[in-house]
Symmetry: C2
Amino acid sequence: MIRSADNDKLKTIRKLHDGRWREKLDLFVAEGEDLVEAAWDPEFVLVAGEDVEPELLDGVSTLGSGARVIGVYRRRWSQPGGDLSVYLHAVGDPGNVGAVIRSAHGLCDGPVVLGPGCADPWSPKAVRASMGSVFARPPARAGFAGLTGALVALDPRAETSLRELELSRPAVVCLGSEREGLPPGLPGTRASIPLRAGGPESLNVAAAAAVALWEVANRMAAHA
Amino acid sequence: MIRSADNDKLKTIRKLHDGRWREKLDLFVAEGEDLVEAAWDPEFVLVAGEDVEPELLDGVSTLGSGARVIGVYRRRWSQPGGDLSVYLHAVGDPGNVGAVIRSAHGLCDGPVVLGPGCADPWSPKAVRASMGSVFARPPARAGFAGLTGALVALDPRAETSLRELELSRPAVVCLGSEREGLPPGLPGTRASIPLRAGGPESLNVAAAAAVALWEVANRMAAHA
């Protein structure tokens, strides 16, 4: 039973709140029973009251309410691929990155490919927002030059609606940051999610990704 | 120029970070130029360097980076209604509530109706996540007994897919908390967003709302 905050495992967990340490150690943290159950083999797991004093585990948790269990895991990456996948460019909010990983796990067969400037999918917030999907379908890392297939570039100003788009496989739905959008050099067909007149300029990036994956997946299935 | 943190306007802003004060004063805060531009007439607005020392305004901002402008506004509520609207039950995350308000503003003509247990749409996080849509289309408050029209109850375990549903107008898309779902007494037709085998049990509630509004709005338009 760990009874001191000076313990090496607790120190490792604390370090892994910081992205530079996650990169350096190639490890990350999952907190809570649901995530630990969804996870692959851990480096170690600490259970409150069994392995460690509950207050000490709470002390290294990023959850306001504390955690009953925390696991430390080695990172894994997928390769881009699949009939339908997602590419994110400079999506900086970890909650959005995690939510897109969850939606992609539910709606398409390929991974989420993270381009430059994206939030770290292994941060506690992104792992939590993925609700364990980051374990079932780890993200890939690539620039858009590393993608294969027809690129569907979501762009709120595009005149072509997602519903009018000619689809072919494999397809990659590409989304940029809400402020900057996709880089001008990205090839592929620009398409929009048409919104009501007087409405917002765009949807939240995780909402837009879910709508686009739903629409493209259904139309691919209809044409199968 | 405000030069003291003891100033009454700064104190009001600080109080309004707390939901009980928002309820008591019937006011809320919007931070940043984009939100203040999207807003209705303010009780007051403070601009850094014009009305107040920048450090003092940063000191009452909930943004990590501080704010150049903060406005204080009286709350407004809509009435339930519209051909297509959304009802949320016990959706506790303010980021999700704000994102649904934004999606509804883009995809349907009715407001987001907030049932019991929902996060406060006037909290700084929800206002920010709405990206100003909370001003363009203020939410309504009602239990599900206060809704009129056909209720489409999203339920990940429902056998009927959203795509198979018979639609009529007006329609209200209803979503519950991710853990608990909708209350058993909610009338209407249960429908699911079908996800891949082996995928997550459900989508994030804001992603699910966007998909459902997109699908229902498009099918309503096709049958118009």
